[in-house]
């Protein structure tokens, strides 16, 4: 008999980050630790490094064969070529011959190479530093006797935290995610909700056993270890319901009306083309937020103007004339991009991010603006600038956009000057909204809330402070009222809009355009349909 049947089910309470349920074996992802190796004889160390390099090369060759996409293949081919180059490895062997341990010799050799890439003036070259770091760590893991962990589909992954690039590289079919760190508004959580991957945070993952059977409930924020037969039966029923709700949401055809018959526009937030698969544009009022930073993450080089143009064009083709709001690169601190952002910012949320970063990397920013101006002729494209703090920043963006348009016109390209709007997420900008020359406004509630409350959205202990308060709603109302007086549109694209319990409060402030993650469409439409009208 299966001995699992004898174990009592154990329930662990965490916090919900993405709804849905999943059942499967638990896989613990451990961070690699490269502690000091026991130093052996010169011959032993020489052999250890040789073996580690050969093993890394074999693993990379295997990965390259399975990569299946050109970018991943190119990254891996570059790493393989580096390992084959004696110019890279010879100095490490020379250090070993002088008595250094293999791991320290390898780090001492490759670290200066990494630094030289990090210091390159060309962002495309700077981006290579991450490949070298990746290679360094792979060899160090081999030296430490650690093997790579491969995440198969259908498992519940438990880890301290994972980077967005890793989330995007994993096959989450029938799987789920449990993290110790992160929060419901972290970027991995945004991705998890958008892709329908159940996720909870705030769980002491050290107490979880690798391979144990677990049931993840992303709605309740719980994890059940060794669920009994009854729990499993309930799970199957809920999963069937979940599938039904998703199909119903996908089959919906607009428009969305409140109980009093008022039209509310419901758009979606996306990070790329993947989320649009299987989604009918007839059921939504457009794309309210396209987060372009995900085009820049986890790849071999920064996307070129042409690559960006192709993606923007396909978004517009999908929307078939409905508005598509594309936010310019919102990178920085918490959303690092190889070759562009600095690591180790003391206070990333208050640092060089969003438009502050773009205005400091004009080469990269100009390429994006050119791609946007070219795509604007293909449909109803709007350009949105993130993290605007003072009116001059927006003016500068408008001038750069006009320059890009003029440049393209001289190259005889077909272009159009798209409307330029701003993300309202910095409190000083929201409070002096009258000073900004924006064609439209979009409220970024996640950042607005954390900046107003001075409480990080990634600090689980402060979750009760980083919540929508009366002050937040009042400030949203202030922005909406001003924009209405000019006949300009205000939308809200933060997580607040995707929470059916907050929908009425947002409509009370006069908002009539909400942009939500695709997974929340059904629930938000239902909440709007229940809305009786503003309280007099």
């Amino acid at each position: 008999m299966d001995d699992r049947a004898h174990r009592a089910a154990r329930r662990i309470q965490g916090r919900s980050a993405a709804p849905g349920v999943a059942l499967g074996p638990l896989v613990r992802l451990a961070l690699a630790k490269h502690g000091a190796r026991e130093h052996q004889s010169v011959a032993e160390e020489h052999r250890a490094l040789g073996d580690a390099l050969a093993a890394s090369q074999a693993a990379l060759a295997l990965l390259a064969g399975e990569a299946g996409d050109a970018d991943a293949e190119a990254i891996l081919a570059f790493q393989v070529a580096l390992l084959e180059d004696d110019n890279l490895t010879a100095p490490a062997f020379a250090l070993i011959a002088r008595g250094e341990a293999a791991n320290r010799a390898w780090s001492a050799t490759i670290d200066p190479e990494i630094v030289s890439y990090e210091e390159a003036s060309d962002p495309h070259f700077r981006a290579r530093a991450s490949d070298l770091r990746d290679l360094r760590d792979r060899v160090l893991r081999n030296l430490a006797g650690e093997t790579d962990q491969i995440v198969p589909p259908g498992v519940i992954v438990a880890a301290d935290d994972i980077p967005p690039s890793m989330f995007l590289a994993t096959d989450w079919r029938d799987g789920g995610l449990v993290l110790r760190r992160g929060s419901p508004s972290s970027h991995v959580a945004i991705l998890a909700r958008s892709r329908g991957v159940p996720m909870i945070v705030d769980v002491d993952v050290d107490r979880l056993e690798d391979g144990s059977d677990v049931l993840l409930d992303g709605d309740a924020g719980t994890l059940v270890v060794d669920p009994d037969a009854e729990m499993r039966a309930i799970f199957c029923q809920r999963r069937a319901e979940q599938t039904k709700v998703r199909q119903a949401a996908a089959a919906f055809k607009g428009p969305v009306l409140t109980a009093s018959g008022e039209r509310v526009r419901v758009m979606i937030n996306v990070t790329g083309l993947a989320e649009l698969r299987g989604l009918d544009p007839a059921g939504v009022d457009g794309i309210g937020l396209m987060r372009t930073e995900f085009l820049f993450q986890g790849r071999e080089n920064l996307p070129t103007e042409e690559e960006q143009f192709q993606i923007y064009k396909r978004l517009l083709e999908w929307a078939a004339g409905k508005p598509v709001t594309i936010r310019t690169l919102d990178a920085g601190g918490d959303k690092p991009i190889a070759g562009l952002t600095r690591s180790g910012d003391l206070n990333p949320f208050l640092g060089v991010r969003g438009v502050r970063l773009s205005l400091r990397h004009l080469d990269v920013f100009r390429e994006q603006l050119r791609a946007l101006a070219r795509a604007a002729v293909m449909g109803n494209l709007k350009v949105m600038i993130p993290m605007v703090t003072v009116p001059e920043e927006l003016d500068r963006c408008r001038a750069l956009l006009a320059e890009a348009v003029e440049e393209l016109r001289q190259e005889r390209q077909e272009i159009q000057m798209p409307p330029l709007g701003m993300m309202v997420e910095v409190p000083v900008a929201a409070l002096s909204i009258e000073d900004f020359n924006a064609d439209f406004f979009s409220i970024g509630s996640n950042d607005l809330i954390q900046y107003m409350a001075a409480a990080s959205r990634d600090e689980p202990q402060l979750a009760d402070l980083a919540r929508p308060s009366r002050a937040v709603f009042n400030l949203i109302g202030h922005v909406v009222k001003y924009a209405d007086s000019l006949g300009r549109e205000t939308s809200l694209c933060g997580d607040l809009a995707s929470d059916p319990e907050q929908v009425a409060a947002l409509l009370d402030q006069g908002l009539r355009t909400l942009s939500v993650h695709p997974g929340a469409l059904g629930a938000v439409r239902a909440a709007i349909a229940r809305y009786p009208g503003a309280v007099a």
Binding site: A77, N87, D122, N301
Partner: protein, 93 residues
């Protein structure tokens, strides 16, 4: 000994970057000759078979690349390398 020199304008959009460098060094290694690469007709020269050295030139778009080769297949090697760079490393990236 069989010595040759050649040069070609590189128009690749992001310069002598990872992907082009992988292709260039792979091709250079297919020849027995000693092959050097430089950004001016009189060097400094680096080993065209070493990705570390080739990448370290950090050659941007619109750079003229100089090759010199020495060995029995030097002429064929330079022809192949010039064709690769001139053809924008084949895939336009």
């Amino acid at each position: 000994m069989n010595k040759h020199q050649a040069s070609v304008l590189m128009r690749h959009e992001v310069g002598l970057h990872a992907r082009p460098s992988v292709k260039l060094t792979k091709l250079a290694k297919a020849f027995g000759s000693r092959i050097d690469l430089g950004l001016s007709p009189d060097g400094p020269w680096v080993d065209a078979k070493s990705i570390v050295k080739v990448m370290a030139t950090k050659a941007p778009k619109d750079t003229r690349i100089y090759f010199r080769a020495e060995g029995s297949d030097a002429k064929a090697a330079l022809e192949a390398l010039v064709t690769l760079v001139d053809g924008d490393f084949q895939d336009g990236r």
